[in-house]
Amino acid sequence: MKINWFKYSSPQTFYPLAEKMIPWFAWLAAILAVAGLYISFVMAPTDFQQGEAYRIIFVHVPAAWMSMVIYIVMAAWAGLGLALNARLSAMMAQALAPTGAIFTLLALVTGSLWGKPMWGAWWVWDARLTSELILLFLYLGFIALQSSIDDPRRADRAGALLALVGVVNVPIIYFSVKWWNTLHQGSSINMGAAPKMAATMLLGMLLMALAFWMYTVAVALMRVRCIMLERERSADWVKALSLGAKS
């Protein structure tokens, strides 16, 4: 069977399609989250070193994973949009960025909230923490660039280029920060302090990560619909749609 991709990649057809997809992902996210939370708070045993504080891991690690994954996915969409001149891809990239930034922020904040009881400090200039902070800056730059260019086509392409440059730079940043830290002096605090993970803990983390994944898809779809409405304001399908919609 031959699928007409072009048809689905036009905003007009994707808009209602996304509407149908959103509840599925939202419910999946909710179910996975409930399961994950059950495991993380009820099933997972107390950690003998860190006490109950370690339960932060169930949001912290999934959030940190998502922050990195979303950046790569975003850059991939952006690159695709640039290469194929596909509007929908560029819109997906734009829709993913804020969610990625939020997860990055969450990883930072929950990490800090974990660090305080464990290390006695809210923040240390550790390599991993620093590179996560820089990742946040990269997200913010992308968002700021797109929001300050009025012409959407130009915004798409400029943003895509920036995302690609950023992706090239991410490994460089990661390693530079790593070397920066170790070349100076051994960090007095070791991130690997967490003990060998029990299977239940791993399961909990995986479930939470999957829940975040599904949530990301749902939210990105919601945002992409908003972007379509805003951009194609004067297109006939949006006019018809808005006149048909209640309230």
Partner: protein, 205 residues
């Protein structure tokens, strides 16, 4: 030969024009007319490859211009709304630099001659910043006496020129066409230019 097929141009969320197509052969002149904001400049920029059309294509000697860009650009001279002159350089320096950038090596005497042709020889050694609007425009247009490219795309070249210079420029354009060149031009003024064939494209806002 320049061939244009089914061009559409979107600016912001406004469709300026669509389905614009034409052919231009050696010795041909084409006027692009229309009101302010109707998309004339945008069309010329598409023809130069500066702007990507929403739909359609531009072909030079049968090849899409975004494939053999360098060959096309060597055959092209474009003078837009902006003069592309540096205020801090003299007229002569500006002219030489832009000619050499376009691939024409020129010495002082030749460059001076072309400035003289359009009547700004006396400004040759003045920084362009102190020239008047019309004089600046003429320094930019002096490139047309140096270039050897076949296709000229000129965006309102007569604006800000006095009548004497308009005639000089029109004569130069006629000469170009009689040598087998092609010109695409926008203008709000009535100017007679001699060409083997003349066509008009009218854009409506």
């Amino acid at each position: 030969m320049l061939m244009v097929q089914g061009l559409a141009c979107l600016r912001g969320d406004r469709l300026l024009f669509k389905n614009v197509g034409f052919e231009l052969n050696a010795g041909g002149l084409m006027y692009v007319l229309g009101e302010n904001g109707s998309g004339k400049s945008s069309l010329l920029r598409i023809l130069c490859g500066l702007l990507k059309p929403e739909e359609g294509g531009v072909f030079w000697n049968g090849k899409p211009i975004d494939l053999d860009t360098d060959i096309y650009q060597a055959d092209l001279t474009y003078i837009g709304h902006l003069n592309g002159l540096k205020d801090d350089l003299t007229a002569l320096e500006n002219l030489q630099i832009s000619a050499r950038l376009a691939g024409n090596q020129v010495d002082d005497a030749v460059a001076l001659n072309s400035l003289a042709a359009i009547g700004v020889a006396r400004c040759a050694n003045l920084p362009v910043g102190v020239l008047s609007q019309g004089q600046k425009r003429r320094v930019a247009l002096a490139r047309l006496w140096l270039t050897r490219s076949q296709l000229w795309i000129l965006d309102e070249p007569f604006a800000a020129l006095d009548t004497a210079s308009v005639d000089v420029l029109a004569a130069r354009l006629g000469e170009h066409m009689s040598n087998g060149g092609m010109t695409i031009i926008t203008t709000h003024q009535e100017v007679t230019i001699h060409a083997q064939s003349t066509q008009t494209l009218r854009l409506s806002a």
